[in-house]
Structure formats: structure tokens, C-alpha cells
Symmetry: C2
Subunit: 159 residues, 2 copies
């Protein structure tokens, strides 16, 4: 690799970029800030060490994650990524609390609904009983006529 196509790391470190440069595939010259951030937090030797000890197919992800960690530390020099983790953990606690609240609300609704159903059934049974009772004691006009005829017959036979 010629000097004109040095990777961002070698350009930053003002050194020749060798063909076997471990950093070159992950720190292209098009994004110099990416390496600058990572270098500020981890240093070139630590990045190189870490990437060298990993299988080639995992190096891109590792470089990406170190870059994200470094960007987090640049944004928040005290807490860095751990600050993000704390915020996410708090967010999970909030969402889980809301979930517990909604679940208990749902449980109350279910219990109320069950109670209403049972009350509805009891009321329906009671009203059915009332209707049956009324049915047994009520007399429609036809039966009244029948009774009048019966009364008439009774009058005729007795008076």
C-alpha cells in the first residue's frame, strides 16, 4: 500500500501503511475521525493487540464496537458506554414498572368482568325465576274468558 493510500490509523500515526497493516481494513482513510476517537481512548497498540488476537471474521465487529465505545467516551468522558448502559437499565425498569402496572390494571378489569358476568348470570336467573313465577300466576285474556265461562257455568248450576 503506497503512502498516498495509507489507512486512517497509519496517517494519524504518521507511519508507512504496510500491506499487512492490521488496522487498515477497519480504519479507511475516508473516515479519519473514527481512528482519532478510538486512538484517544484505547491507543494504537491496544487496538492492534485486541484485533490481532481475534479471528479475522470478528475483527470488523470488534473495531466497530471499539469505535462506538470511544465515541461514547468522547461524548461523556466520565461515564462513557457505562452511562448509556445505566440509562438503558433505568429505561427497562421504567417500562417494566409500567408493564406491571398495566398487568395489574388488566387483572382488576378481568376480575371486575368476571364479577359482572357472575352478577349478570345471577340477575338473569333471578329475573327468569320472576318471569316463571309470573307465568304461573298470570292469566292471559283467553284464560280469563275461560274463567268467566267457568264462573258463568258455576253461577248457572248453583243459583
Amino acid at each position: 500500500m503506497s503512502t498516498s493510500t495509507r489507512c486512517a490509523a497509519c496517517r494519524f500515526l504518521r507511519r508507512r501503511c504496510r500491506q499487512d497493516c492490521v488496522l487498515a481494513p477497519y480504519f479507511p482513510p475516508t473516515n479519519p475521525q473514527r481512528f482519532a476517537n478510538v486512538h484517544k481512548v484505547f491507543g494504537a497498540s491496544k487496538i492492534t493487540e485486541l484485533l490481532k488476537q481475534l479471528p479475522v471474521h470478528l475483527r470488523y465487529d470488534a473495531a466497530e464496537c471499539m469505535s462506538i465505545e470511544a465515541a461514547s467516551r468522547a461524548r461523556d468522558p466520565v461515564y462513557g458506554c457505562v452511562g448509556v448502559i445505566s440509562q438503558l437499565q433505568q429505561h427497562i425498569i421504567d417500562v417494566q414498572s409500567e408493564l406491571v402496572k398495566i398487568k395489574s390494571e388488566l387483572a382488576v378489569h378481568n376480575a371486575q368482568q368476571q364479577l359482572q358476568l357472575e352478577n349478570g348470570e345471577r340477575a338473569s336467573e333471578q329475573q327468569q325465576d320472576e318471569l316463571l313465577w309470573l307465568g304461573s300466576t298470570q292469566h292471559d285474556p283467553l284464560n280469563l274468558d275461560q274463567l268467566l265461562i267457568q264462573a258463568n257455568d258455576y253461577q248457572k248450576s248453583h243459583f
Copy 2:
């Protein structure tokens, strides 16, 4: 500070621990692994640089967070803290999905309950109407007696 009470960093780096050692307050000799982890990921000079640029009251938190970051990277050399962030983000997505599901379930229950209440009111009104209608057409034994008396009177007057 004498050599026998060197901080974990100075002991690790085999150097004399000076009274103004920036690392000493945050890397006590009782926990050598803490510095070993941090050193492996960031290196002594980066840790010192980072702590020096912070106000004293924030240095403990920063050292703690670097220690957590280093421990994450030791556990997961590819993804480190970013792997934890991804897991937490996925967990949030899962909990939020469950929340949306439970909320929609609650909305369905509320709608059903409202419908049941309305149906209950309609049914109650209908049954009340039926009872009123039955009340207007039914005749209890007293009224039947009355009718029989009326029929009797009618018979007496006409036959």
C-alpha cells in the same frame, strides 16, 4: 507513599508510587485485578490522561466506568460494553412489545366491558318493560276473586 503500600497500578507497572499518583486513589493494592483489566484495554497512559483531564470529584466514577468497560471487554473481546448495550436495547424492544400487547388487550377488555354494560342496560330496560307489560296484563288471585265477584254480580243481574 512507600514501596510497600504502592497502588495496584504502580505495583503492576513496577514503579515507585509517588504521593501525587493520579491512579492510587482509584486502584488500591487490595484489588490488583481491577487495574490489570483496565490496563489491558486502555493502557496506563490513557487511564492517567483521562483521569487527569477530569475534576477530582468525578474521577472515582470515571475509574469505576473504565473498570466496568474493561471487565466487559475481558468477558466479550469482540463486543464488550456494546454487546451489553445491544442486549439491553433488545430487552427494551421485547418489554415494549409486551407492553403494547398488554395495552391493546386492556383496550379490548375495556371495549368489551363497555359493550357489556350497554347491553346490560338495554337488557335491563327490556326486562323492566316486560315486567311492566306483565304487570299490566297479569292478575293476582285477589283480582281474580274480584273478577269472579264481578262475574257473579253480572250473572245475578242478567240471569
